[in-house]
Symmetry: C2
Subunit: 337 residues, 2 copies
DNA sequence: TTGTAGGCGTTATCAT
DNA sequence: ATGATAACGCCTACAA
């Protein structure tokens, strides 16, 4: 059943039906009503594929991340999703793509979206499209919105990691802590991005401003940001510096929760002996005892803003790139009491 | 840049290029190599839309759920995702759709997928497509795989909720508990599905088999399955029956965590005074103290199996519907000690 | 092995 | 207000 079948049933041509379907041109109320009735009766929906071929546009907004299953990612996605419906603009579908952590799949995905003209705008979370893909996006005029990363030629929305870290560490220092440790991800590598580095920068500034001095024995590096690594990190830190009285876990809450669990096993009191602040504000942070203080990423706002920018670009074809920086928020809970 | 431009550059016709792109017909190694080189050099990818129009198929697998941001949903999705790449079949993209809890958006989404021929198979999580949509899916031959729900004419994969509940409650009874309460979702309503009902059924059977008797004062109903509701549920239960010595929270772990937190506030010792078993095994369940015993939903397997069935159907056009039932697993942690 | 011609279901243009 | 015709970019019998 296609547009021509409907036309035949209504005694008009497919052109008329198409116009009605798209609210284009002028159609008499009468035929409009008649055709619409037939469309509804037959439960007819036009072929998305054909419509896209004809329009030369994909009609969807693509969301690309390294995987689906992460509280962080799905929160961002929820922000995108909500604003996509909130604005009443849900004629544009939201399609999600995951690169499964493989750089090969990543390249493939971007090229497919760009060259295959699948989407009208692409929102990318914590990933960098390669050069070829960016060229292609530019050529096809598909706007790219980078979340948590930055490239020239693309819009970006990033979290101010320096300031988030600074606030957290300043709070620890302000409550009298003298030996503030930091646990962070690997730095210096192009692949991992600037996040760990920025957080360390904020940490160092806060430590210095508080009149303390950064000490390499107070630095611990993790790779996967896991709960398990958090447990090990605490052991390592204590082995190197027994005076450690507080920890800023820039590697995220999951890792911080590992630290907490290990501390409790060792009979270390939180926050009396060691106070802890994490990063992200994952749901579990508020469920554990004591509650985990943390730097809350404005994930929801991130997604919301991204969608708005995507729509703006897709519709107005604005060509100037925008770089938005959002400030994260320090949330104090008992672990940093 | 389209298939004809590539052809021109290579000195062949677009037909040849198409054949090469799709590995169809016989092409000399030489021209193949030449054309492929030009394709790569120009970073050419065929238009997905046109290809779909032409083929009359969507070329993607659709995943529809009520929202994205839930640990449960994203775990299922991860299962789907992993097997989609694991089988090396990632030429088929995975597109996700969310209905935002709105039945209107739900209907719209399904009709768009079905009638717009967007997908070659649809995986639906805990949602029921309406009659019209099912008819359309049948007509277009798009297989539907229902997860956690069941309809005639569609494949389904469900969790054996009765047995999961039975195991949990039997464990509580086996450890000497005499007043076992249940917290479950609303039942009897078509919209909410059979899950709460099935879990209560398992609960009742276990209670009876243990020589105890079910008592309405030991039943508490929640609506949203939230942490907050769990807190209230405990208060309500204790108000009605002070002897409550254990709780099976069929309404999920999040709710069970609420119960635990409230219990700790009230100075009730877990598991000594009251032991608790939840349902789902969300990540936080193993992070809290004491660890939350729970019935682990085989979410990952659910997703995996769903994808496999989707592919089987999409490729072999099998028409017999299959109903798979997966048994959940009881995970004992300290809260049920 | 390669090319010609027609079809997929839309939308867009330009008459009528 | 409506319709005839072409265009979108791809796929694929079938003919060469």
């Amino acid at each position: 059943m296609n547009i021509r079948d409907i036309a035949k049933l209504a005694g008009v041509t497919h052109t008329t039906v198409s116009k009605i379907l798209n609210n284009k041109g002028s159609i008499s109320e009468e035929t409009k009503k008649k055709v619409l009735a037939i469309i509804k009766k037959n439960n007819f929906y036009p072929s998305e594929a054909a419509r896209r071929t004809s329009l030369g546009r994909g009609g969807e907004i693509a969301f690309v991340s390294s995987k689906y299953a992460s509280p962080f990612i799905s929160m961002v996605l929820e922000g995108v999703e909500n604003s996509s419906y909130g604005t009443g603009k849900y004629e544009k579908m939201l399609s999600t793509y995951s690169t499964r952590g493989s750089s090969e799949i990543k390249d493939e995905t971007f090229m497919k979206i760009a060259s295959g003209r699948l989407a009208d705008a692409v929102i990318v979370l914590a990933l960098k499209p390669n050069e070829d893909a960016m060229k292609e996006f530019k050529k096809t005029g598909i706007p790219v919105i980078l979340l948590e990363s930055r490239m020239k030629g693309a819009d970006s929305i990033t979290v101010d990691n320096v300031s988030g870290a600074y606030d957290a560490v300043s709070y620890l220092a302000g409550s009298g802590r003298k030996h503030i440790a930091i646990i962070r991800g690997v730095t210096g590598n192009e692949e991992v991005g600037p996040v760990p580095h920025d957080r360390e920068k904020g940490y160092k500034k806060a430590v210095t401003d508080a009149g303390l001095k950064a000490d390499n024995n107070l630095l611990e590096e993790v790779i996967e940001y896991t709960f398990e690594e958090g447990r090990e990190a605490l052991d390592n830190l204590l082995a190197r510096n027994k005076k450690t009285d507080s920890i800023f876990c820039a590697a995220g809450d999951m890792c911080a929760l590992g630290v907490m669990q290990r501390a409790q096993e060792l009979g270390i009191k939180i926050p009396q002996d060691i106070s802890i602040i994490g990063f992200d504000d994952i749901p579990a942070a508020s469920l554990v005892k004591p509650g985990l203080a943390t730097v809350k990423q404005p994930v929801y706002e991130l997604g919301k803003k991204a969608f708005e920018m995507a729509i703006d670009h897709a519709e107005n074809r604005l060509l100037d790139t925008v770089n938005v920086v959002i400030k994260p928020e320090l949330i104090i809970r008992a672990s940093a009491g």
